[in-house]
């Protein structure tokens, strides 16, 4: 059993961070994990992306050409990675910032208005947490509790941040789960 995902967005949207958190939580849950960022000139501003692999077996390539899931936090990311997604894969779209419909009809689409939800929660920086939660809800790649534990540890010195981020994570999780029920996981 392997979960892999490309998470992509603008620099500053926190996609590299949620990718690392996913890898950490996977490691804590006893899985084999890898996290691979895009690097070079493209990482200096502009879009950022990372590939996370969570597996029961030692990770083969940490770079995935055709991932099982894509999380697109902005339009350039959707444009870049939609076509790479494996048939039957999971496409998470941040509809707050992406105003077009996905073109692929052979993939499972989960729509997450991540920024709107984050704003609603008065945690505008928490859009990435909403998206991460949605990915977990749609895949169960790692248990939600494991991620909550990690958030508590990571932000231990800032209790307010812990609570608002867990709130954002849960909202995303519910959304991801609701849109995936009754469907087979890829």
């Amino acid at each position: 059993m392997q979960n892999d995902v490309i998470m992509a967005g603008f620099g500053g949207q926190g996609v590299l961070l949620i990718g690392k958190m996913l890898a950490y939580a996977g490691m804590h849950a006893g899985k084999e994990v890898s996290w691979m960022p895009s690097y070079g000139p493209e990482m200096r501003g502009g879009t950022a992306n990372c590939t996370v692999v969570i597996s029961d077996r030692p990770v083969g390539s940490p770079v995935i050409q055709c991932p099982r899931a894509v999380l697109a936090m902005n339009l350039p990311s959707l444009d870049k990675f939609e076509s790479a997604l494996k048939p039957g894969g999971l496409l998470l779209v941040n509809t707050s910032l992406i105003n077009r419909e996905p073109k692929r009809s052979d993939v499972r689409v989960v729509k997450v208005p991540a920024n709107d939800i984050a704003n609603e929660l008065k945690n505008p920086k928490g859009a990435n947490m909403v998206a991460l939660g949605a990915y977990l809800g749609a895949t169960e790649a790692v248990p939600l509790e494991e991620m909550e534990k990690l958030i508590r540890e990571t932000f231990a010195s800032k209790p307010a941040v812990v609570e608002s981020n867990i709130q954002a994570l849960r909202r995303g999780y519910e959304l991801g789960r609701a849109q995936s029920q009754g469907e087979d996981l890829p």
């Binding site: 690392k20 083969g60 770079v63 050409q65």
Partner: protein, 362 residues
């Protein structure tokens, strides 16, 4: 010690520190900047020294100086920077000094690109700079193995009084994986005090001179023989490689190293599901190269496939190992393009077609 999720570059830096290295001299170059950055942050905390050199040429000579004083020292760079360091590396090998070098390879030639590559295999394993010398070259395929090999590299460098290179690629440098350190680790070789080091000539002892200049040709020839004997000892005692699926019957043997071997492991699983019999040898020491192990494994196969992120470099050593007894094929990607498991599977399917097998054995 608990597992930590670390970038390969940072794990390499931390492993060096845990090996007792307190000195780093280097120059920035992508994709290994996290190594000097990590060292600049960590070394002052432990009473060590970090110097950002004015160039890779200078950095290689700084590590030469520091190693001459008997202290553990290392540097890291990426392909174009390693080319510039060849001057110092040749002197270090000629003067028989222990240093650890890390090359996080990027695609070339020239300025090339910044994405992963294995195109410096020849440079790393066949000498690199001027003169007859070899580096002991270790090729990790994961962050954990990079951390483990760095620590062994310091012991091997001290034991042989020879530079040891960790040859990785951009993936090793950039990716994060769980890594575990073992603070109670014992050296992998029995090490002697460095009585040869230039540390100040006390009393009547003869001066210690760190030098690679031998103007008398007979003396220089003897020195070369001494170096060669060392490389032969490495070939006898230090070969490391790993085998995958060689205990079962197989038709194709893959030979791959570093991160490419991980892709090939995924390909092996896919091949197995498709009912195609394949196995792999992964050299961990690239010099000394596991000629005997590759030869033995090849004898159970109909054909050998070497997969590299280059235009075909290690494949030459595999051909030397196999000595024409099996057809040796090559599949590679260049320029920072990566090999996928699907490509490896397709290539092996092609090798096993009747026309190809007939051509191989014609």
């Amino acid at each position: 010690m608990a597992k930590k999720l670390m970038k390969g570059s940072e794990a390499i830096g931390e492993a060096a520190i845990q090996a007792g290295c307190k000195l780093f001299f280097g120059y920035p170059i992508t994709p290994q900047n996290e190594i000097p950055e990590y060292m600049s942050h960590r070394l002052p905390q432990i009473g060590g020294t970090f110097v950002q050199a004015e160039s890779e040429v200078a950095a290689s000579n700084m590590i030469y100086g520091a190693a001459g004083s008997g202290e553990r020292v290392f540097t890291s760079s990426s392909s174009p920077g390693i080319s510039l360091m060849q001057e110092g590396i040749s002197y270090i090998a000629g003067s028989e000094l222990p240093v650890v070098l890390v090359n996080i390879m990027r695609a070339g030639p020239g300025l090339g690109g910044i994405l992963p590559s294995q195109a410096d295999y020849f440079q790393a394993t066949k000498g690199g700079g001027h003169g007859d010398y070899r580096l002991l070259v270790l090729a990790p395929w994961s962050v954990q193995e990079a951390a483990d090999l760095i620590q062994d590299a310091f012991d091997l460098a001290d034991f042989y009084r020879n530079p040891v290179m960790i040859l990785g690629d951009g993936l090793i440098g950039q990716m994060m994986e769980p890594v575990e350190f073992h603070p109670d680790r014992k050296p992998c070789k029995e090490l002697k005090p460095k009585e040869w080091a230039a540390t100040g000539c006390k009393g009547d002892r003869p001066t210690n001179i760190i030098n690679s200049l031998f103007l008398d040709p007979a003396a220089l020839e003897r020195h070369n023989h001494k170096l060669q004997a060392k490389y032969e000892a490495m070939a006898r005692d230090e070969i490391r490689c790993a085998e995958y699926g060689t205990e079962e019957p197989y038709d194709v043997l893959i030979v791959a190293y570093g991160t490419v071997a991980r892709v090939c492991v995924t390909a092996l699983e896919d091949l197995k599901e498709a009912g195609i019999r394949a196995a792999m040898v992964r050299p961990i020491t690239l010099f000394p190269f596991p000629y005997a192990q590759v030869r033995a494994a090849s004898e159970k196969a109909k054909a050998v496939l070497v997969v590299e992120l280059s235009c075909g470099q290690m494949v030459e050593d595999v051909r030397l190992a196999v000595e024409g007894t099996r057809p040796v094929h090559f599949y590679g990607r260049q320029g920072g393009m990566l090999v996928t498991p699907e490509e490896v599977v397709d290539e092996i399917r092609r090798l096993l077609t009747v026309p190809q097998l007939e051509a191989d054995h014609a």
